[in-house]
């Protein structure tokens, strides 16, 4: 498959990205607003071209455990779901993190709690970056703000997942999943051969114990307390490396800004319009867009905190990322939150009004 430029939905490009980045398997369960991922894969029938396995599981619980099994083989495997389905997957995510298995999980999030709504929301920030499952672990969390990033982050996700042997979550939302945009689909790369898998993951993956090594055991179990603590310490050390090397963010007109909006995903798209509106009226407003939500760009916010008059964390939720923004500022600048909930997407003018109310007109 050659490079192509197409007009596609965010969910559809996840399927394209999986096939073109040499993904070995996708396991999923239908849930709105992301069912197009599985539907597109079934339409494209990659098992006839790249040999990729695509399977509709009987539940999200089964899907994430299929991911666990596939990842244990050293294969590039992924799933996608939306908020209530991700809740069901959290047990599996904890096991994946505990067993240090690489995979990519896409959350096209919707409003909650409970069955909530099928409309877009960013209310799963805490679940994505603070855990969700049990035990001390972190996912690496990428937040796309365009259809192109939905596409690009699948292969980036696998790259990070295998670099750190850790599950990666692409935290998207119903806006990005459902909207259509121009997207550049990269030239396809082949799936890894068995030899490549042995070369890069042979020390831990299961593929039938060859004569050249002792058996591999993929497990997250350690019954001895002092040995489990060593596992925890090893994970913490890994998360420190992730935080040191993988923080990604983008700034927009922050150089001279008095006020900085902090927003990710679709909310960041809205906030870039707010920056324009405010600048037209002579207010120096900038935008910081975290691309990785874990690791969080705390350093960049800390630097800005010494020279700005305030941060407004703009999220489609009741105020979740705002806690990390506030922690990052070390109380050197005031931080406020604005966001609509329940599937309501805030308009640029609503955000601008909130910015005036919280800071500019104070």
């Amino acid at each position: 498959m050659k490079e192509e430029v197409k007009l596609m939905k965010g969910n559809e490009v996840v399927a394209e990205a999986a096939i073109r980045c040499g993904c070995d398997a996708y396991f999923g369960y239908p849930i709105t607003p992301q069912s197009e991922v599985l539907e597109t894969l079934m339409q494209l029938r990659p098992w006839e071209t790249t040999g990729m396995v695509v399977l509709q599981a009987e539940s999200e619980v089964a899907a994430i455990n299929m991911v666990y099994g596939g990842a244990a083989c050293g294969k590039k495997v992924m799933t996608s779901s939306s908020s209530p389905g991700i809740s069901l997957m959290c047990e599996g995510l904890s096991y994946l993190a505990g067993a240090e298995l690489p995979c990519v999980v896409v959350n096209v999030s919707r409003g909650g709690p409970g069955l909530g709504t099928i409309q877009p929301s960013q209310a799963d920030y805490f679940q994505a970056v603070k855990g969700g499952g049990h035990g001390d672990y972190h996912l690496i969390v990428l937040a796309p703000n365009s259809v192109q990033e939905m596409y690009d982050f699948v292969s980036l996700g696998f790259e990070l997942a295998f670099r750190y042997l850790n599950p990666v979550m692409i935290l998207s939302d119903g806006v990005i999943g459902q909207m259509m945009e121009k997207v550049v689909l990269s030239e396809a790369v082949p799936r890894w051969t068995d030899e490549q898998i042995v070369a890069q993951s042979g020390s831990w993956a299961v593929y039938g114990k060859p004569e050249t090594r002792t058996r591999n055991i993929v497990t997250s179990l350690e019954l001895e307390a002092d040995r489990q603590e060593k596992v925890n310490l090893k994970l913490i050390e890994k998360y420190r490396r992730v935080a040191a090397n993988e923080v990604r963010y983008e700034t927009f007109q922050c150089e001279d800004a008095d006020y900085v909006l902090v927003a990710y995903g679709s909310s960041a798209r809205i906030c870039s319009k707010v920056v324009e509106m405010a600048r037209e009226e002579g207010h120096k407003v900038g935008l910081l867009r975290p691309i990785t939500l874990y690791p969080f760009p705390s350093g960049a916010i800390r630097e800005l905190a010494d020279r700005v008059k305030g941060f407004l964390s703009v999220e489609m939720n009741a105020g979740q990322m705002v806690e990390d923004v506030r922690l990052a500022t070390e109380h050197r600048a005031p931080v406020a939150h604005y966001g609509r909930m329940g599937g309501v997407v805030h308009s640029p003018s609503e955000v601008y009004e909130a910015l005036k109310r919280e800071f500019i007109n104070q």
């Binding site: 299929m66 596939g70 593929y207 179990l221």
Partner: protein, 256 residues
């Protein structure tokens, strides 16, 4: 006093299977797990599958099965073994993939995964140890616990009005089109051990031939959980367990 006899290799009539590791097993004396592990190790070796087998261990007493049988292993979350096996077999169709699960893992928390793996006809083998109790957590009621049977959570005996009925998942699985072989065996006598071994071999052969899912149920003892000596547990199993869970093939699509 008898004279000391030197044990010569040609006089050996029994040996530890080559694929059973030297790790001391944590199973209680009298437990059936050790025998079933031995049979699996022997069959893998005899079929020449040492380098082509991937086992999936459950949550339950057999969680550490990976310490004892010398093949590649993945340890599953509670009840999810057949979901893992589904992915592993589909991604490595040339390998022999089996799960090893107890009654709580397979027939309570993992019922959904078990039935759907069977219904999809996944080419895997499920070894199912049915001892009618949760062993590892200290002897609580399992879905397979017999009526009237006392456990830590049915201290006055299993009462169907309170706890429902024991459940024959082997029979349930045998109804599914994707399941090719369901058999119920035991390992409490030498004859039973030989039959169980044949059943395990047949299941592994089915998996390699792509015939669908095979389930080998082993009606087993848990003398610690049942609070009986190993000998009494065997007797109790014959008298009570086998009445409700009769041994024999429940389904065999190869037998026309």
């Amino acid at each position: 006093m008898a004279a000391e006899v030197e044990m010569k290799p040609e006089n050996l009539v029994y040996a530890k299977p080559r694929l059973i590791t030297d790790k001391t097993m944590h199973y209680c004396p009298g437990c059936s797990h050790g025998v079933v592990h031995k049979l699996i190790a022997e069959v893998i070796d005899e079929m020449g599958l040492e380098h082509d087998t991937i086992g999936i261990s459950p949550v339950g007493c057999a969680v550490l099965a990976y310490d004892y049988i010398d093949v590649d292993w993945v340890e599953s979350a509670h009840g999810r073994a057949t979901a893992l096996a589904t992915a592993i077999k589909r991604l490595r169709p040339d390998k022999m993939v089996f799960t090893y699960q107890g009654d709580g893992d397979l027939a309570a928390i993992g019922t959904g995964e078990t039935i759907h793996a069977g219904n999809r006809g996944e080419n895997i083998t499920v070894i199912f140890i049915n001892n009618a109790i949760y062993g590892m957590t200290g002897g609580q009621m399992a879905p397979t616990t017999l009526l009237g049977m006392k456990t830590a959570t049915t201290p006055y005996g299993r009462d169907p009005r309170l706890n429902g009925y024991p459940y024959k998942i082997g029979e349930v699985m045998s109804l599914l089109d994707g399941v090719c072989y369901v058999t119920r065996q035991s390992v409490h006598t030498p004859a039973a051990v030989r039959k169980a071994k044949k059943a395990i071999r047949k299941a592994f052969e089915n998996s390699m031939a792509g015939r669908g899912l095979s389930l080998v149920e082993i009606v087993a003892t848990c003398n610690s959980g049942w609070k009986l000596s190993p000998v009494e547990a065997n007797r109790w199993m014959e008298e009570h367990m086998m009445e409700f869970y009769p041994l024999g093939d429940l389904k065999d699509t190869e037998k026309k």
